[in-house]
């Protein structure tokens, strides 16, 4: 079946010898004000919340003893890497988490700050900072309970360094959530050729297929850098309905949940539990 590609926003990073690619920054400055138009360029990212938020929420709920359904993520400190305009930070904040959102593009941070400012609850729970991941490592060692890197790693120049930095700022046994795109013939045809060149779902030049990351490679890098991969699940975008769903195949988009090993470096049995949304509205 034709599983079509979903629009992803590239997060251009600032100029440094880090995991960032500078020439993409300019592209995204133009689109900085479009983040919050639910029907606009970022529509697919908005609708991705329907599966990625329940994924994060339910995984964390199942791991914690605090089962407070009114405020499921309260007390949890989350780092949203490559937060863009704050599309994922805000729902996580509404669910009770304390969120730090970082993004190298200043205009994105400005947009994100402005959008949250009208809601006093969010304004308090979310802090945004224009920065790359490397730049905050020193001051944030083992600070966060959770890191989310959604639609980021496919833009990163040095993936292993990125993962190492994640490990440094994450508390032991903290969770890392990643969503990204696989590097397959299918993702080239659908993700680049169809989505960018033919249908124009994604602005041309947004992605470089070379940077897409196969799940096997991501798993390998995670496991060899102190993480234990718990879940890998395929994701599918339906452009007709504009909605996302979980899928068997990871050949296009996929999500990963990994846990940083505890201080005693215990090994957890890797179980591939199929994710199931409890109250999801994904349709």
């Amino acid at each position: 079946q034709l599983s079509l590609f979903r629009f992803t926003v590239k997060r251009p990073f600032s100029t440094s010898h880090s995991s960032v690619d500078s020439k993409e920054i300019k592209k995204f400055q133009l689109l900085a004000h479009k983040w919050w138009d639910e029907e606009g360029e970022y529509a697919a990212l908005h609708s991705m919340n329907d599966i990625r938020v329940p994924f994060i929420r339910d995984t964390l709920l199942s791991m914690s003893s605090n089962y407070n359904l009114g405020n499921p993520l309260s007390g949890i400190k989350i780092l949203d890497v490559g937060c863009g305009g704050g599309l994922l930070s805000e729902p996580l904040g509404r669910l009770g988490a304390s969120v730090t959102g970082i993004d190298p593009v200043e205009d994105n941070i400005r947009t994100a700050d402005q959008h949250k400012s009208f809601d006093p609850v969010l304004a308090k729970r979310i802090q945004y900072k224009s920065s790359s991941l490397e730049e905050i490592v020193e001051e944030s060692m083992e600070t966060f309970d959770v890191i989310v890197a959604s639609e980021v790693v496919e833009h990163v120049a040095d993936l292993e360094m990125f993962i190492k930095c994640c490990s440094q700022v994450l508390k032991p046994e903290g969770s890392l959530f990643i969503t990204t795109i696989n590097k397959t013939q299918l993702s080239y045809v659908l993700g680049i050729v169809v989505a960018e060149k033919i249908m124009g779902i994604v602005p041309e030049g947004t992605h470089e297929w070379e940077k897409f990351v196969p799940p096997e490679e991501l798993e390998r890098l995670l496991e060899s850098n102190g993480f234990s991969v718990k879940t890998v699940s395929g994701m599918l975008y339906n452009p007709l309905s504009g909605s996302w769903s979980w899928a068997e195949s990871t050949s296009l988009n996929y999500a990963v949940h990994a846990v940083k090993s505890g201080a005693q470096a215990q090994s957890h049995a890797t179980d591939t539990q199929q994710h199931s949304a409890t109250a999801g509205t994904a349709g």
Binding site: W36, N49, V53, G70, G93, R94, G96, A123, A279, T281
Partner: protein, 436 residues
């Protein structure tokens, strides 16, 4: 930012504190995913104290379906209703004044078909449940909204993204989602410029509280279609029933003005008289009935006789005009309409408030899921799901009610025959009856 001087911000504001609006606020207030949310309910009237139910029945009653009872249960209100007063009924008998055709609704299991409850009882129960969640739901009495300012859908720059609500006393509120439950003349709907398809029927409904000639089980709801409109008797207790008589404006005025004895006579005559029968129709009807009984021996039910009325409660007679209405849209960005603000029907089907409670259940379900997903409550995404579900359900019922109303407003033989056979056929066919 002007956060300090800005009007207070609520997650949800419900405009209209009638049965449907109050139920909406109460259900959200009791929803676990709304535990840390702020809800406001705006009611133009004063707070009514329902501590003591008067001995006499109120003349405004509703027929509550089992589904509505479930909704009221979910926020703890149904228990209060049961402890106050209500009348379950097991059976509905509906028949035509122009023929012998009749349809009986009955549930095969021993469950109740529905409940006749005074509106004041429902309001009392809901008010109690609102008090129980006062930390989450703020009720503003004597607070009429006089203006609404809508945000631009794609918010940008320094303009507030929330709905602004201006109250008559000069205060303002902001909200992420405004729910319009302000009745068929909804100001919310008008200010949102949502087109409303509406039609005034040339009928008014006369209501009254009646006392029966003799005590009976009184667990049947009766409705007879007269050419001027349907007359219904809804059980309140073993000795009392509520009247809802839809008829022409002139006739309604006469009924309300006439002396009590004449009024009672009119009611009994309406239920018992065969003056509208014609031999032709009676014969045709009888033939059809024999045909059915050959094919389906159990298909024609035994006709029970309605109770006869002895007295009317003084002061209990009232009338109000009838109409139908349907909003072309139920939702917009940060806005949802429920209850009569979205749709208005003729009372002949006894559905009015049940449709509203159905809206509440559906919207609460979607808002609860949205809250658990951390979504912006005013987002069209889940509001559209509510609209689609409810329009699909409501439109066919409203249209059918309208058609029935028109079909039964005539004595023309062909149409009478049509509805006679239709009614008899429907009575004989279990699948159709179940669906109704």
């Amino acid at each position: 930012r002007s956060a300090a001087s800005a009007p207070p911000l609520y997650d949800v504001v419900v405009s209209g504190g009638g049965m449907v609006g109050s139920a909406m606020a109460a259900v959200l207030g009791h929803d676990i995913h709304f535990h840390d949310k702020k809800i406001a309910l705006l009611e133009a009237g004063p707070r009514k104290e329902y501590d003591h139910m008067p001995d006499s029945y109120s003349n405004r009653v509703s027929s509550i379906s089992p589904g509505s009872a479930t909704l009221l249960s979910s926020c703890g209100a149904w228990d209060h209703v049961c402890s106050l007063r209500l009348k379950p009924f097991r059976r509905m008998q509906v028949w035509d004044a122009c023929s012998e055709a009749m349809i009986v609704f009955e549930k095969d299991d021993l469950d109740d078909m529905g409940y006749i409850v005074e509106n004041d009882v429902i309001m009392s129960a809901l008010t109690k449940q609102l008090d129980a969640v006062a930390d989450r739901v703020e009720v503003f009495y004597r607070s009429k909204a006089v203006g609404y300012t809508w945000p631009l859908p794609s918010h940008s720059c320094d303009i507030s993204p929330w709905v602004q609500v201006e109250l008559a006393d000069g205060r303002s509120l902001q909200t992420k989602l405004l729910i319009g439950a302000d009745g068929h003349n909804s100001m919310v709907r008008k200010e949102a410029e949502i087109k409303n398809i509406e039609h005034q029927y040339d009928q008014s409904a006369v209501v009254a509280t009646l006392h029966l000639s003799e005590a009976t089980d009184n667990n049947v709801a009766w409705q007879r279609f007269l050419p001027t409109g349907p007359i219904a008797l809804l059980p309140l207790s073993d000795t009392a029933s509520s009247l809802v008589w839809s008829t022409s404006h002139d006739h309604a005025s006469e009924l309300v003005a006439m002396d009590e004895e004449s009024f009672v006579d009119s009611i009994n005559s309406a239920f018992w008289s065969n003056i509208n029968h014609s031999d032709f129709i009676d014969t045709a009807g009888a033939m059809f009935r024999s045909a059915i009984s050959l094919l389906r021996p159990s298909g024609t039910a035994v006709r029970q006789l309605p109770p006869s009325v002895a007295k009317v409660d003084p002061e209990s007679r009232a009338m109000f005009p009838l109409g139908m209405g349907h909003a072309t849209e139920y939702v917009q960005h940060r806005l949802a309409l429920i209850g009569d603000a979205a749709h208005r029907v003729h009372p002949l089907a006894g559905q009015g408030v049940n449709l509203g409670f159905g809206d509440v259940a559906c919207l609460a379900h979607h808002l609860s899921a949205a809250a658990f997903n951390g979504s912006d409550l005013g987002s069209l995404k889940h509001l559209l799901k509510f609209e689609t579900e409810r329009q699909r359900h409501n439109v066919s019922l409203i249209a059918a009610t309208d058609v029935l109303k028109r079909l039964y407003s005539t004595t023309l033989a062909p149409l009478v025959l049509l509805r006679t056979w239709g009614l008899q056929a429907t009575n004989a066919l279990p699948p159709v009856k179940v669906r109704i």
